[in-house]
């Protein structure tokens, strides 16, 4: 290994460590007993415990600190809202993107710009109108309302991202499928879609991250039944007898896991280009 290569490795390790350290710290904390959490200097080696994790799903807090919680339900809520809205956004967004890529309908550019413009305002500016709208429509604290909201947030992104993917695949391939006896929809489904798998995977993971971690709207619009984990997490910080860091870390650790797994599973597709080399002469 020459010097340049070694330097590069050192740099990569250093940067990774910098990014990974807070996560590592949280994960370590999740396995520590209360005593170990506060020890100075911090302990890197300790006897791990699962008490913090156990406490998440039992109603009483591990050390009697003041929150009783139903984190099982919050996890389920987060999962339902995230997967529901991402799935809906991907289904409709992909079809919309295909239409935008293939059919030169009237005012297409304006339509595409309008779609994007819905994301131009900062969330804070939108939250009050949405709040009022949801109150009037009785969508506060409902799964439907939250799924719709997150779908609406993810759609513009999915449409724009998927459109660029569709633009890159030659339309002759779908035309060949149509000559071969497929309908337009079938050509889309059987021939175009398989070629943009990597795009779908990428769009899904990014949308999922956004929805999974969304805080502002969830804090305003969810109630006890639809509360998501980030909101519940924030509420644990308001305990009467201090913060239960162990439990907090355990929740976070669990909360990171699904996203990590999703990213790992889709990594093959995230490496754009693997399935994306369309046939050229």
């Amino acid at each position: 290994m020459n010097l340049k290569k070694m330097l590069r490795v050192v740099l990569i390790v250093a940067v990774s460590a910098l990014y990974a350290f807070p996560v590592l710290w949280v994960v370590l904390t999740a396995f520590k007993e209360r005593i170990d959490i506060f020890t100075q200097p911090p302990k890197l080696f300790f006897t791990p415990t699962l008490d913090n994790f156990a406490s998440i799903f039992s109603d009483s807090a591990s050390d009697g600190s003041a929150f009783s919680s139903d984190f099982g339900r919050y996890f389920l809520n987060s999962a339902l809202l995230s997967f529901g809205s991402v799935f809906t956004a991907i289904v409709f967004g992909t079809m919309g993107a295909y239409a935008a890529s293939r059919f030169p309908f009237k005012n297409r550019d304006f339509a595409m710009f309008s779609i994007l413009s819905t994301r131009m305002l900062p969330a804070v500016a939108v939250v009050i109108p949405v709040y009022l709208l949801y109150r009037t429509l009785n969508l506060m604290n409902t799964y439907l309302g939250m799924t719709l909201l997150y779908t609406a947030f993810n759609l513009p992104f999915v449409i724009w991202m998927m459109r660029s993917f569709f633009d890159e695949i030659p339309r002759e391939i779908e035309e060949a499928a149509m000559m071969d006896g497929s309908s337009r929809f079938r050509a889309f489904y059987r021939v175009a879609l398989p070629q943009v798998k990597s795009g779908i995977a990428g769009a899904a993971v990014i949308s999922l991250l956004f929805t999974w971690n969304e805080f502002l709207f969830a804090s305003m619009l969810t109630g006890e039944e639809t509360r998501t984990v980030p909101i519940a997490l924030a509420q644990t910080l308001q305990g009467e007898r201090g913060v239960d860091w162990g439990k907090l870390a355990a929740i976070e650790t669990l909360y990171i896991l699904p996203v990590l797994i999703a990213a790992a599973l889709l990594q093959k597709y995230l490496l754009r280009g693997l399935t994306f080399g369309t046939v050229k002469g």
């Binding site: 030659p170 060949a176 149509m178 000559m179 071969d180 006896g181 497929s182 399935t275 080399g277 369309t278």
Partner: protein, 368 residues
């Protein structure tokens, strides 16, 4: 098999781009029809309208007397081979070929038999389990052909299928396509910008320019009797020499007058030539009809042209010489053994029965 008829078809892209105007074409049963023209002449649009991939603004398309103007591509029973092959990248060659049959709910056994059969015809049995990205250009071309022929369609459409191949492979595939056409006895419509492909493969050729049909004829007829200046120059390599000049009167004679030359105009043409505005006409002569051998030029003392050799291109099978007669430039094709020297002055003459005259304004031929 089938025949295709196109009646008064127009294609206008909004707001007012005319891609095809008033096309009337008939592809006969088992015919190999070549559509040729420079890029942007509307030949691909025409083909895509036959395929159903492009809507028809006006007019009608019939396949076997069935009006298909508004029929979906999938219901026309036509196969098309695209310039970029358009193979399904996520499927093996076998699946690419089987796709159309599967869409039409052909039994599995039958699919297998037909794919095997087509693969054998094209010599691609070894490639059936490969994906398109692992094939060479020529192999992809064959796979795309295979996908078309397994379906046994009524009509085959080709959209510049050989343009992405190198010259050697192109010549080879040209011959193979011709053999395939003979073997399948199918109606084929073939779009190309390459006049060589059109000439070598087409039973008949349609020459298009700016959306308008210029001439429909057999290859030799096109070559010998081009209807206008455009066809004359488009067909043939090197192209026909065109020399701009005017008609003049010399006592009892009518002559063609251009820099460096004065040639008698044949008497039968005189009345027609009157139609040329201001007497401006264009003389056309193919390079092989420009003679510099003394045996020929000696016999034509009044039609001799004194010209200077500017460039000599020995091609092995023949030699091309670029001649300049005081500003009138033309190419002469001669036997490989005769190698004039650059800057040499020599006498040239045109074979009189092979000369064409065109209206300088409209481009229409006076001789065809």
């Amino acid at each position: 098999m089938a025949h295709v008829r196109i009646e008064n078809v127009h294609k206008i892209y909004p707001p007012d781009t005319v891609a095809v105007q008033n096309a009337n074409i008939e592809a006969l049963d088992k015919e190999f029809l070549a559509l040729v023209g420079p890029s942007g002449c509307g030949k691909s649009t025409l083909l895509r309208m036959i395929a159903g991939l492009e809507s028809v603004t006006e007019g009608d398309i019939y396949i076997d007397e069935r009006r298909v103007t508004h029929v979906l591509p999938k219901d026309r029973n036509i196969a098309m081979v695209f310039q970029n092959y358009a193979l399904y990248p996520h499927m093996t060659v076998y699946k690419n070929m089987a796709f159309g049959l599967k869409m039409r709910k052909t039994p599995k056994r039958e699919i297998e038999r037909r794919v095997k059969n087509a693969a054998e015809i094209l010599g691609i049995e070894e490639l059936l389990n490969r994906r398109p990205q692992h094939l060479s250009g020529g192999e992809r071309q064959r796979a795309a052909l295979g996908r078309a022929i397994v379906r046994d369609p009524k009509v085959f459409l080709f959209d510049e299928p050989l343009s992405n191949l190198d010259a050697q492979l192109r010549a080879q595939m040209r011959a193979e396509l011709k053999k395939l056409h003979a073997r399948l006895e199918a109606t084929m419509i073939y779009v190309t910008h390459d006049q060589t492909e059109a000439m070598t493969m087409g039973d008949r050729i349609i020459v298009l320019k700016e959306g308008a049909i210029q001439q429909i004829a057999t290859p030799l007829h096109l070559y010998v009797q081009p209807k206008n200046r455009f066809v004359a120059q488009f067909i043939g390599n090197p192209p026909m020499n065109l020399i701009e000049g005017r008609m003049a009167t010399r006592e009892q004679r009518r002559v063609f007058e251009a820099p460096g030359m004065e040639l008698d105009l044949p008497r039968p043409l005189w009345p027609a030539l009157q139609a040329a505005p201001d007497g401006e006409i264009v003389l056309g002569v193919r390079p092989e009809h420009v003679r510099i051998d003394p045996e020929f030029t000696q016999t034509r003392p009044t039609a001799r042209i004194s010209a200077v050799v500017e460039v000599v291109e020995p091609l092995g099978s023949e030699t091309l010489a670029y001649l300049n007669a005081e500003g009138s430039v033309f190419i002469a094709k001669m036997p490989p053994t005769s190698l004039p020297r650059v800057n040499e002055r020599l006498e040239a003459a045109f074979e009189p029965e092979q000369i064409h005259f065109f209206n300088a304004a409209s481009g229409e031929s006076f001789t065809a």
